[in-house]
Amino acid sequence: MVPPNVAGWPLGPVWLGASTVVARYDLAAGVAAATPDGNPALTAATEFDLPALAVALAHPEGFTDATQTALAQVKRDGRLVLALALASPELSLC
């Protein structure tokens, strides 16, 4: 956690820039690939139990329609579901 300079981190929509989106995707994919079997979030993702997945990722409000549709595209692979959920707009915001 090294801030860019002595003024600290900037505020505002700069965190929704293209580079942060890409970094978030890369992190989410890396985390999903490295998550051990038996992890509750990975189990929920593998079972495609989206409410349970949302709870496991500390976002009990659940996923938006757009995210649910996208998650359904990768339904056959629990790690892809987990990666996509971690990179979703709602989890970028909290």
Partner: protein
């Protein structure tokens, strides 16, 4: 405690991410000039393109456009560049360019390079952060929190439905593009700008689904903004992967050379981009200034001359101001 949602919606405050900046080299091609390309004229939606090059850290202007003045040598006993090493500029007898700027001479001779020295603003507090905020917002009195390009995007509406209307390449360039409404695309690190999926996962499927999560747009404005960022980022990743495929392997040339090469390729792709903001850091050369500054200026000069050579080749040079 501040939630991330609140944090993201805060628009106030001078958000500063770089160090002092200077851009004194202005290259303009406004006159009509026959295209060297045999193809037809640039397409109509590419009207004029502005390319801003930011030398983050604050360039040493006195060792860039160097005065033939005894006081310069007196005050810089170790760092002064000897008169006989300076690059002479026709019709500018009182100054010479740093030797590393030799590639810019043909542009000067063609009347396409201008130097606007000693530009600043009054009431300088000597704070790096205030100076940068003034530079990005073009508002020394801190009347604006948006960037000067961002306000132009808002006022003209050119970025409406096109987040690629303004593209920032390189760290610390995005604040100039900050707008109240307009979306733009900021890429901090060109080489690292790709969707990386570990080999054990199906990257093609994951990135396709990721792009799909941007639609349909949520009714929540902040969530919609996050979705728009995903749409813009995935499109930009796709486009820039084509750029690096066409310009050869990565890592060739310095940051400015690479950034300007990417800008030239994107102009050729004709995506409706009207502003590029290319930034490279390292110009706050406190130590080892002589060698580092020479390398940085070499990157700048190579970058600008290659940029215009590429545009000449593609027939897009007439509408570009760098």
């Amino acid at each position: 405690m501040l939630s991330r949602r609140q944090f993201l919606t805060l628009s106030g405050g001078a958000a500063v991410t770089g160090a002092a900046a200077w851009a004194g080299l202005v290259h303009e091609r406004t006159t009509s000039k026959p295209s060297t390309s045999s193809s037809s004229s640039p397409s109509s939606n590419l009207d004029r393109v502005l390319v801003v090059v930011q030398l983050s850290g604050g360039n040493d202007a006195l060792n860039t456009v160097i005065p033939h003045d005894g006081r310069y040598h007196d005050l810089r006993p170790t760092l002064a560049i000897a008169d006989d090493k300076l690059v002479a500029l026709t019709n500018a007898p009182s100054v010479g360019l740093h030797p590393a700027l030799q590639p810019l001479v043909p542009l000067w001779d063609a009347g396409q390079l201008a130097v606007l020295p000693q530009i600043g603003f009054g009431a300088d507090s000597r704070s790096h952060f205030e100076s940068l905020a003034a530079w990005w917002t073009a508002s020394p009195e801190h009347r604006h929190t948006t960037g000067w390009i961002g306000r132009w995007l808002d006022a003209t509406g050119v970025a409406k439905d096109n987040p690629l209307a303004a593209i920032a390449l390189g760290n610390g360039s995005a604040p100039a593009l900050r707008a109240d409404h307009a979306q733009s695309t900021a890429v901090n690190d060109l080489a690292g700008f790709r969707l990386l999926t570990p080999r054990s996962l199906d990257g093609a499927q994951l990135s396709a689904a990721f792009a799909a999560s941007a639609a349909p747009i949520s009714s929540d404005p902040v969530e919609a903004q996050a979705q728009a960022a995903i749409a813009a980022a995935t499109r930009a990743v796709d486009l820039l992967s084509k750029v690096s495929a066409s310009t050869g392997e990565d890592g060739e040339g310095g940051d400015l050379t690479q950034g300007l090469a990417a800008a030239a390729s994107l102009i050729e792709m004709d995506l409706g981009t009207r502003v590029f903001f290319v930034s490279a850091s390292g110009f706050d050369t406190h130590a080892n200034q002589a060698a580092e500054h020479e390398q940085l200026l070499g990157d700048l000069a190579t970058g600008i001359s290659s940029f215009f050579a590429a545009l000449d080749k593609s027939g897009h040079s007439d509408g570009c101001c760098c």
